[in-house]
């Protein structure tokens, strides 16, 4: 029974490895044209706008910005109608630090999508 148990464990481990390998955010289908600030960019002072542009229309359903003080409060969210440009404004100027943006949306072809980008704010 040792062999059977080993095979069973190997199968489970392989399945787990597969799921781990793929449990990353969905990749953009519509083609991201770019983000503001750019992914990995360092900006001087708080950015006025944070957002993302797509090649085709996307319905953004979640757009979170988090930084050194936790989640950033955002104003003027455009809603979740199909759009090629989705931009929000920080409610208060962002203090210096590293920021991460995570978004989710529904692409025109019906795919659930998710991605994100990072930027750094310097005084």
């Amino acid at each position: 029974m040792q062999t059977k148990s080993t095979i069973h464990n190997t199968t489970r481990a392989a399945l787990a490895a597969l799921l781990l390998a793929v449990a990353t955010p969905l990749l953009a289908h519509e083609g991201e044209l770019g983000s503001t600030p750019e992914d990995g960019a360092t900006v001087q002072g708080s950015p006025e706008k944070i957002g993302i542009e797509f090649e085709g229309a996307m319905r953004i359903t979640q757009f979170d910005v988090s930084g050194p003080d936790g989640r950033v409060r955002l104003t003027n969210p455009p809603g979740n109608d199909p759009t090629e440009r989705y931009f929000v404004e920080p409610a208060e100027p962002l203090p210096a630090g590293d920021y991460q943006v995570r978004w989710r949306g529904l692409a025109r072809d019906g795919h659930m999508m998710s991605d994100g980008f990072r930027f750094t704010v310097e005084d």
């Binding site: 481990a13 449990a23 990749l27 991201e32 025109r108 072809d109 019906g110 659930m112």
Partner: protein, 302 residues
């Protein structure tokens, strides 16, 4: 166990979406494939015909249930992977209004119609097959509502995917009846004749499956390089490797195990059944990999 603790950090919502999608693929392909198998082999022994139809009906209901579960899972994903967003009317409405909603309606109505295969073919020879074939058509249309087959050239991409799926459905649905037939002694119930004829039909079906799959992949990826540089391409390579194994098994069945079964060699039925069962587990891994491929990657974005 390290892998178990590592798994705890995985986003469970995405994993659930992948597993439910794989299950839906399996249910939909099996249910539609049973109709094709019954049409291809009208001379199946009565008992096998009834069992095949019953399996088709059960997996059709499984497919319907999983298609319905996909809906809140998708809404929940859009809202950040929470139960609250899975039941959020706005997100549910957004999913339903789009391509996923069309796919859901087509899949559910198709899988309901497929079950007309249960109607007694002797009393209602055309009604059962007619309705269930219409169901097969709707399920196939459901598959081309979402994803990159909606891009141009849409008709060509959709037609290729449907051919690929029809051939896959026939193959997947043939495994259970062939497994059962392989348990019969060769002189009984024309099992050997049906198994041999399946080998002939399968060559044609597998040819279509591979050809349509390769052309579709080439059109979607637009070259050989993305096959190696994108996640989608790499998943596809994995899928092709498993399909390769499956083809080896199918070839062994056709040229070695079925002839041995026909000759009534002792042990041949057991070997053939083991081989078919192994085919079944490879098919399950292909469905899982396909669900991964269509859920988390894209030929355009990686």
């Amino acid at each position: 166990m390290a892998w178990m603790s590592a798994l705890a950090g995985v986003e469970a919502w995405t994993v659930a979406m992948i597993l439910v999608t794989a299950g839906f693929y399996g249910g939909a392909l099996l249910a539609t494939g049973v109709v094709l198998f019954r049409l291809t082999f009208p001379d199946l022994p009565d008992r096998e015909r009834r069992v095949a139809s019953r399996i088709g009906a059960i997996v059709a209901w499984v497919g319907i249930a999983l298609a319905l579960i996909q809906w809140p899972l998708q809404a929940g994903y859009l809202g950040g992977g929470t139960v609250a967003s899975a039941v959020d009317p706005m997100l549910l409405g957004m999913v339903f209004e789009g391509a996923q909603g069309t796919r859901l309606i087509l899949a559910v109505s198709g899988l309901l119609l497929v079950q007309a295969i249960l109607l007694d073919a002797r009393r209602l020879p055309w009604l059962g097959y007619g309705l269930s074939l219409a169901g097969v058509g709707l399920v196939m249309l459901a598959f081309v509502q979402v994803g990159h087959t909606v891009d141009e050239p849409r008709l060509l991409l959709a037609a290729l995917l449907i051919v690929h799926l029809l051939a896959a459905a026939f193959w997947v649905a043939s495994l259970a009846p062939l497994y059962r037939l392989a348990g019969h002694p060769p002189e009984g119930a024309d099992a050997a004749r049906i198994l041999a004829r399946f080998g002939q039909v399968a060559v044609f079906g597998v040819g279509l499956l591979v050809l349509a799959g390769v052309v579709l992949a080439a059109l979607l990826l637009g070259g050989v390089t993305p096959l190696f540089t994108t996640g989608y391409g790499q998943f596809l390579i994995g899928k092709v490797l498993i399909v390769g194994l499956l083809l080896l098994l199918a070839a062994a069945n056709k040229w070695r195990l079925v002839p041995a079964f026909e000759r009534g060699e002792p042990g041949a039925p057991g070997r053939l059944r083991r081989s078919i069962a192994l085919e079944g587990s490879l098919v399950a891994s292909i469905l899982l990999l396909t669900a991964v491929l269509t859920t988390v990657s894209s030929p355009a974005g990686g």
